[in-house]
Symmetry: C2
Subunit: 408 residues, 2 copies
Amino acid sequence: MDLPPSPLARPFPDMPPIAGAELRVARARYKEWDRADLTFAKLAEGTSVAGVFTSSACASSEVELGREQVKLGEARALVVNAGNSNAFTGIRGREAVEQIMAQVAEALDCKPSEVLVSSTGVIGVPLPKDKARAGIAAVLDAPTCGWEEAAQAIGTTDTFTKGAQAAAMVGETRVEMCGIIKGSGMIAPDMATMLGYVFTDAAVAPAFLQELLSKANAETFSCITVDGDTSTSDTVLAFATGKAGNGELSSWEDVGADAFYAALLEVCRELAQLVVRDGEGAQKFIEIAVTGAKNDESARRVALSIANSPLVKTAIAGGDANWGRVVMAVGKAGEPADRDRLSIGFGGVWAAKDGQPLADYDEAPVARHLQGDEIRIDVDLGIGDGKATVWTCDLTHGYISINADYRS
Amino acid sequence: MDLPPSPLARPFPDMPPIAGAELRVARARYKEWDRADLTFAKLAEGTSVAGVFTSSACASSEVELGREQVKLGEARALVVNAGNSNAFTGIRGREAVEQIMAQVAEALDCKPSEVLVSSTGVIGVPLPKDKARAGIAAVLDAPTCGWEEAAQAIGTTDTFTKGAQAAAMVGETRVEMCGIIKGSGMIAPDMATMLGYVFTDAAVAPAFLQELLSKANAETFSCITVDGDTSTSDTVLAFATGKAGNGELSSWEDVGADAFYAALLEVCRELAQLVVRDGEGAQKFIEIAVTGAKNDESARRVALSIANSPLVKTAIAGGDANWGRVVMAVGKAGEPADRDRLSIGFGGVWAAKDGQPLADYDEAPVARHLQGDEIRIDVDLGIGDGKATVWTCDLTHGYISINADYRS
């Protein structure tokens, strides 16, 4: 099934090269298709790596290995296979990953643990070792390519190609940051896993890079949802090549650490939102801001309860400012709330305040807002200072068609 | 919008009268419709009551009051309003409930706390006191009616009328039990709240009745889901009039307690499954049995994670034995699981065992099973003795149409 681009798609941005990161793609033909499906990034010696991974208890071998590899903090290469997720494939799946790590390590004269591998695609079929071996051999000989080609090659069911970039001044040194991502639902046999990669030429100590990425993740990738389903393979990795020439960042006290984090947060937020914009069947992009919660984590849970509610998501699809369904989603979140302090608004207009519909509620501007494709829902719980913002999309016939009507 | 009966509907069963419970209905005209929408049950002196309620933090006044009333253990009347949920209506909503309680208490010469009230329908509009007052006056004068009429009158978006009955021998005494329920999604402004009522002529002490109902609830109403959304008004009440003449049941040691519980469990399970059979847009009834979990509660959480997964529900809608999506749903449940011990089957045929697809997996019988409208999914986690069974329905274009396309 080839889908047209999402109506919420964004054009691929201009993205500069990152010193110390060379991109290449090749055709491993993991599926019967004629496109690049193996992406390779060669990273300079001394590159730091950090990662965040799916919380799934049934994670793929790539994720299990990756969790250990990022603890070591150093990377020399990234390999991304598209068309086969290698998930739920037991020992044979793990052997395929280890083969790739060994083959690349030999070519680059590095440790296998410095070769990060991700796979996305059909579940339950071990990654074919012969195709992987030939694909790696081909990609090592391939010419270098740009970000858009790499972003295309990691995609599967994506309807558009996704990238984001930012720059920051670390002291007197300008550092660049580029990210690419794939994902459109959460998971399906032909596959919507979220895989994201951020590359920077900044010098950042591995432990601090991990701290920064984990913090950014909590405010971005952990704040998006399409259908509440979680892939067995979700992965975000950050690589810092150290080629920009800045003094290595190793703590928040370092000059430029705040600026670097701001750039990282910007790239991660844009990448996260791009995944939502490619949500299966999405017609509307929805931002949900919760304030007045007991604390920030409680606010995030309430916001995600709203964002994952099929009744809220179908109401938005229908252009219906249905605050009753928002009340329901707040109530079921299992977080502290007080019905009589709860306020709900759409597009900046309060519909209900302190547990009751507003007497002078003017539905006209709200109805106009709901006709657009960028929807804002505000919820104030009125009991504390906790706040969070999450992003999701509406639930439409398109979602059902993609996931029920067309079998792979 | 008038919908045709669900393809999964069941005919209303023959249900005997319950001594000590008199049913009446009337037209309060809470909405612009010409149907009975106020249901009244007059209960004999000495009737015990127990209840389970929504866990929503934004519950209606009816639920807030009901939680307190069932602690007192005695009931003389039940009033159910259909067409207005009275939820999110602040103090004015509470006053309307208290007015109904006072009016009925005066007529029956009982305490207001012995009058249980439920409401279901549009959110955010206080229940109109004048219509309620006239409706109560009319219903007190109305002729008595049968179970099917009462079950019709409590319905809102239900596409068929729902009841269940059972009998048990308590010592030498036969006791009867009849239940009615309404509900089809979880909640919506024109409204899919679940309200269920079980009546028996058995004599049961209030505290023990509560213990039995809570236990049955954990295995039945807490094990169904349509869309994972939870109403602000969900309520199940049990009334025991004591007119059968059995020795009062007050503990598990009493003769007949086990038989009585078995009957209660049977009625509750049937009522719960009827709600799923009327799930919005449902085309297939799905039973999900999880075994080998760490404990029973963990098994229930895993089963509900599968039952609430849009990707699993759309796969079933499409007749797709998509065990990869089941793996995903197990993984995201946040419960102990081991990918390499996980087994998944459909219709009694294992598709994957111990973390890998079965080499000799025969898809033909599974494909036939998936073409039917009663689907069984088995999941064995392989790590413990915990087990649970839950029921849900598939996710179809019908759900989207009901909740997005047609605005109330």
